[in-house]
Symmetry: C2
């Protein structure tokens, strides 16, 4: 533990600011212990650091007013979506005011002809896709959790569809944000591309709320493909599965999803989701296109899988079967925890050039075995990104120490392979030392930007830099 | 004219810095009038503002040394690729030292298995694609000019293929750059995605050299498609052509190129490139995919074109025919100038949501006619981006004034349509007032970032902010 350092508290400023804000927000400002705790970090092994107050905001103007008040009294502001982040992003190491954006959940416009929409930050990806379904459109980024779109932008989320559709950075056209001084800015409008000045859109995406609060998102949408075919294929080893992935990507198959489950993960999925998959490494795939196009992709993949010893390659016959398979994939976190009831799950998030993927996953499996850690692997392997979920007894200092060793070792391995310590989860509190190892003095430039835009370090302090 | 304001010169500092740099660089530092003039702005109507010296750098370390020396003496540094930018980006309004990166033109690595490569900034897109051809790979961004990849990143360039492959922001994995204090940073490595801190890659892309000098680029590559089919189709009006484009994009056809030439542009192309196209608005297209996939796309487009009165839809039969068509498209700037020999061409660059495209192009044509300006239109219309090329007698103040009115009017119209004044050319000196109209107080955030990273405003001063 101890992965969440405590920062100095401005107790007087916090008290004053909360007093002022209470007058405006009344019951929408809450200071009860359980509400505060729910708005600190509640996943993984990073300890909970609660804010002093939680305000349920309903408009950009309210967010601006909260930030301006906090700025005047140098009080931390922590934006909160659904709390599904994994690296302590919503913790309040110096206390302060959490802005819960969950009530800012309106879909403000869907421009079907332009394949874009404008949403408030509390809209979740499932809410948006349900709204879009009848229009034949969808938003592709799917990190698994039913996260808020504001939070997904803040952590530069991606997930299973990123191999084809990119990450949040590729699917946000522009943002509205409240900056650390309370000013409301727009980073762009609805043009599909722009060369108009510094890319503040991409600067805020992945800034984890440390540079401002995202209050509105203009998102790119995609037409629901004519054909969606899911498929699965078993492999004799993780190495063989990864080789098949590498060949598929290198061959240029525009696969929409290509997910790895190692043997342990398949066992967990079978038990948790009532499946009957062969207990060997598995790839789950999805092909999007015209009827002919999706069939052609599946056929090409089938040929590649053959070469690497793939067996049981089967396209799903029905939408129900497809949904069941992907639901099982999305439930992997919960399924894996059942491999060791009572254990805490610690997820790594390295991403490496795809030519190093097989080597990196295999090394991670060997290392976990060597340390005696139970560690199922799942991965968005088309992007070279995979998660080793360490299942540890958080009260056993020896296991915790081994898990910390493993995380550090794997992050360093990925960095040495020209990869990154985080493909999609972000830095938060947990990965700060690795960011410096990965990017060196570039982190000083990040610090300079942070200091320029947020001189009193009030926006989500203690994260990234 | 007068679109290039002069800034205060630090004459003593410049003299001192050049003296120091001359000692190190000898004949690679040049101060002759013609070399200096060639390294100022030489296109469009913005006046040439030459640097005091030009240094032909050969390594990142040399660039760092030049910047460090200039930083010590508060002397402007202007990075230079091929000089094909259009908004005064390479001008030296306060004098200073131009770093010509043309000799840093080595392709350092091609990682075929990872679909990426590492290049120096002076490598041009044609040089890279020639190098890649035998490997079955290509780099898709094609702004027309054979620009340097460093310059293309600096202006967030795009061009004809962007509708399918995105812009420079989507095709650069990471950068090495020399920052304004002479420090060398890396913004990332070779992972296909990353959530590791602020997106400095995207911050430098489109910063037009105002935040640092790009000294190395890690680029995403794509496999050369199995099938590339070009096609053309004539339309009774610009409106009909735009309607067909809108329907094609909305239908989700993954067209690789979809370019508009209005009637005047077709006339120019016929004359300049020896073509025999019907003199009505024309769409030029390219479809990438498998044999079956490209054919299916072409067929779908053919059906859509029919609906909007398209005629003469024909796929090119041979590579030669395809190359001839695209060469004609790339030569449009020169071809258009021949519509009025001796005239200067002033290109607008607005980009609007595609649902507003027909309306915006038609309004631009009407406005040009109303002002009596000869103004052929070409456009990357799949992205909602088009260029009106005003052909004016630069010595006729009345025409220049009308052109200025037109540019301002069109930029304001695009902004009012939730678009942008620049889809791909950038802000430079020419569009600074429009940036403020478009993004308001977000420009103050850009200024704060600029001041934080470059407190003495030495990096390409007078551009963007």
């Amino acid at each position: 533990m101890g992965r969440a350092a405590t920062l100095e508290r401005n107790a007087a400023g916090i008290e004053t600011a909360i007093g002022i804000l209470k007058q405006r927000f009344g019951d929408r400002l809450q200071t009860g212990g359980s509400v505060r705790e729910q708005h600190g970090h509640t996943t993984t092994w990073i300890e909970n650091q609660s804010p002093d107050a939680v305000i349920f905001a309903t408009s950009t103007e309210e967010v601006a007013a909260i930030v301006a008040t906090c700025a005047a009294h140098k009080v931390p502001v922590i934006p909160f979506g659904t709390g599904t982040s994994l690296e302590g992003h919503v913790n309040a190491p110096a206390g302060g005011v959490c802005i819960d954006l969950g009530q800012m959940n309106r879909i403000l416009a869907v421009n079907e002809g332009d394949l874009d929409c404008i949403v408030q930050p509390g809209v979740t990806r499932e809410q948006l896709n349900t709204h879009l379904r009848d229009k034949g459109l969808f938003f592709p980024i799917d990190p698994g959790a039913n996260a808020s779109l504001g939070g997904m932008a803040a952590t530069r989320a991606s997930g299973t569809n990123a191999v084809r559709y990119g990450t949040m950075k590729d699917n946000v056209l522009s943002l509205e944000a409240v900056m650390p001084d309370g000013r409301i800015i727009r980073t762009g409008h609805r043009a599909k591309k722009s060369s108009a000045g510094y890319d503040l859109t991409r600067l805020l995406i992945g800034a984890e709320g440390t540079l401002g609060v995202i209050t509105q998102l203009t998102l790119r949408l995609h037409g629901i493909p004519e054909a969606i075919t899911a498929a699965r294929c078993s492999f004799p080893s993780v190495d063989a599965a990864c080789q098949a992935v590498m060949a598929t990507i290198q061959y240029g198959v525009p696969v929409a999803r290509i997910e790895l489950l190692d043997q342990l993960s398949v066992r967990a999925a079978n038990a948790y989701s009532g499946l009957d998959l062969p207990e060997t490494p598995l790839l789950l795939l999805e092909f999007h296109g015209s009827d002919a196009g999706a069939a052609e992709q599946a056929e090409t993949f089938g040929d590649i899988a053959d070469e690497f010893g793939g067996t049981g390659f089967a396209a799903t016959a029905t939408v129900e079967e497809r949904n069941k398979l992907w639901q099982a994939r999305h439930d992997m976190y919960w399924a894996s925890l059942q491999l060791r009831p009572g254990a805490r799950g610690i997820s790594t998030d390295v991403c490496v050039p795809i030519s190093r993927l097989a080597e990196c996953v295999t090394a991670a499996q060997d290392k976990a075995a060597e340390l005696g850690l139970l560690a199922p692997v799942v991965g968005h392997v088309g992007d070279g990104n995979f998660h080793t979920l360490l299942l540890i007894d958080i009260d056993n200092p020896d296991e915790v120490a081994k898990a910390e060793d493993f995380v550090g070792w794997l992050n360093d391995l990925a960095i040495s392979m020209e990869g990154t310590c985080t493909g999609e989860h972000g830095i938060g509190q947990g990965k700060k030392p690795y960011l410096v190892r990965e990017l060196g003095s570039a982190v000083d430039c990040m610090r300079a930007i942070k200091a320029a835009l947020d001189p009193h370090d009030i926006m989500n302090p203690g994260k990234i830099v």
